[in-house]
Amino acid sequence: MEKRAIFSNRLLPYLLLAPQLAITLIFFYWPAAQAVKQSFFIEDAFGTTSTFVGFENYRTLLADPYYFKSMGTTLVFAAAVTALSLSLALLLATQADKSLRGAGLYRTLLIWPYAVAPAVAGVLWLFLFQPGLGLAARQLQRLGVDWNPLLNGAQAMTLVTLAAAWKQISYNFLFFLAGLQSIPKSLIEAAAIDGARPARRFWTIVFPLLSPTTFFLIVVNIVYVFFDTFGVIDAVTGGGPAKATETLVYKVFSDGRLGGDLGGSAAQSVILMLIVIALTSVQFRYVERKVTY
């Protein structure tokens, strides 16, 4: 049954909602509206005048090969981070789900990385893999790998992928563990009696039953990679070398803040906003009412 509060004063409910609405309006809708507005203007180099140009900023953007390169970089980055963090988290979760001694401690330790700020995580990985300085980098060079993410774009991408995925493993781990624990034990036992070996039990019973969790995590991880990895990229590579790790969000920053192209940057923000809206609606539509298996 839905609970309905009855207010004697008709204004009271609006008053109670007002603080939250004010915060949302000032900190979310106002900047968003500003960005939309700005995307139709071009500012002069000193920021003193701005000229209305209609869709000019968008036209320039969609004709810019760098924009599509950045889009491609983002997609590769998103796919790599999501695949890596999900598969590692699932592996760890299946291990933590076993009744082992010290399972509680193991789980707690696995959750810790989530509490590390993205920039700190980035710096951590940066130090580890800094050529000539980092512990891991030295090992790689000793093994004969020509490791230099400062020059090699693919290696830089690998590094930010590792850093971004590492941050996300904890979160994915928690959800996978909860998902695993909600699968009735008797199903696994029934499958064992039905002659399925552990690997087959996992792929034919456990994995399909986890699909709602997996789907939810894929969406959340893509959103994370698209929008929350700015700190990691800024700390590790700054978008380089040669824009090899410049994702869409990072490009907004480098074009607008560093390049001074506020209008073009605003247009990029608006496109990103549309992507968030699309992803969120996918999530609400499918995740909220659960994936049917």
Binding site: P184, S186, A191, A192, I193, G195, A196, L209, Y293
Partner: protein
């Protein structure tokens, strides 16, 4: 086809809980053995050990001629029906039933034939085979779980309280179906339940368990007629057997706590005079006496069951129930005398509760 043999089987959990303490019995090939007892008596643990889902701490479990202690569940040639059915929710009914056969790499045409055969036996329509389990009613899910067990033609069926999630009416119906099916397939079965009525009606062989031990093994009626302990006597039968404390006064005569005498069949090895005893009498073997002989009974409550009436009251301080056939007259007042035939009195040791 194989019998099941348990030889001094025990289970101690890592925490030190001794769930099963030295259980031995043999289920003959094709027999339906029901393990019954209150919750926590170790019956489910025992079944799970036979299934291979729990390790055996000591003793040996054999299926057929083979000791299976260290054999994986899948290699034991068993099928199990779980209390919550444990149907795979993401597979259709057909795939649920075919899963075990597919794991054995059975050719698809044979799988199809066997699944359809099982579906026919269990009266599951073709349309139902295409559905997902959650689109089925409780009784239909129960049938699918049974179907999944029978398609593999295992040597032994294991049932873990399969009917407890069903409503009372369906439970009676499914009980009959399980019995019929097991007779027809002649497959050895172990069946765990806490419901004594289910146990009595299903079993060829009844194993009553209490606190990890076997109290008594035998045919249902044998256990009902000659319970080995007060526990068995009190567990089987509804309403349960009445118990009255007393002392042996003479061969064939006990003096009860309320000071009145109760006659019993002395038999060949009657307990010594002066021994503390517990006398057990079934409610349905008690009636009201016309005269002034018999134990004094104080009437408290009458339950009308339709099938008869149940009169609750007390003998001295002890509760006592009398089951009367329908329409039998009630005693006129608040007090009455009980008519109990000497042959209907069970005698148990006053301390250990073992039959004398």
């Amino acid at each position: 086809m194989a019998g099941v043999l348990l030889d001094n089987v025990a289970k101690i959990y890592p925490g030190g809980v001794n769930a099963v303490r030295g259980v031995s019995f043999a289920v003959p090939d094709g027999g339906l053995c029901v393990l019954v007892g209150p919750s926590g008596c170790g019956k489910s643990t025992l079944l799970r050990m036979v299934a291979g889902l729990e390790t055996v701490t000591s003793g040996a479990i054999s299926i057929g001629a083979r000791v299976v202690n260290d054999i994986e569940p899948m290699a034991r040639d068993i099928a199990m029906v779980f209390q919550n059915y444990a149907l795979y929710p993401h597979m259709s009914v057909y795939d649920n039933m075919a899963y075990g056969l597919r794991n054995l790499k059975t050719p698809e045409p044979e799988i199809s034939a066997r699944v359809r055969d099982a579906a026919r036996i269990l009266e599951l329509s073709d349309e139902m085979l295409k559905r997902k389990p959650r689109a089925l009613s409780g009784g239909q899910r129960q049938r699918v779980a049974m179907g999944r067990a029978i398609v593999r033609k295992p040597a032994v069926f294991l049932f873990d309280e399969p009917l407890s999630n069903l409503d009372a009416k369906l439970r009676v119906q499914m009980r009959v179906e399980i019995r019929r099916l097991q007779r027809r397939l002649k497959t050895t079965a172990l069946y765990v339940t806490h419901d004594q009525l289910e146990a009595m009606t299903l079993a060829d062989m009844l194993v009553v368990m209490n606190a990890g031990r076997v109290e008594q093994v035998g045919a249902p009626l044998e256990l009902y007629e000659r319970p080995a302990t007060t526990f068995v006597a009190g567990f089987l039968g509804s309403p349960p057997m009445n118990f009255l404390n007393g002392k042996i006064e003479a061969q064939g005569l006990a003096r009860m706590e309320n000071g009145e005498a109760l006659a019993y069949d002395a038999g060949h090895f009657g307990p010594p005079i002066g021994a503390d005893i517990i006398a057990g009498v079934r409610p349905e073997r008690t009636s009201f006496a016309a005269g002034e002989d018999g134990l004094a009974f104080k009437l408290e409550l009458v339950e009308e069951l339709g099938l008869g009436r149940l009169v609750h009251g007390r003998v001295g301080a002890a509760p006592y129930a009398v089951a009367l056939p329908p329409g039998a007259p009630l005693p006129p007042g608040e007090t009455a005398r009980l008519a109990i035939a000497a042959g209907d009195v069970h005698l148990f040791d006053g301390k250990s509760g073992v039959r004398l």
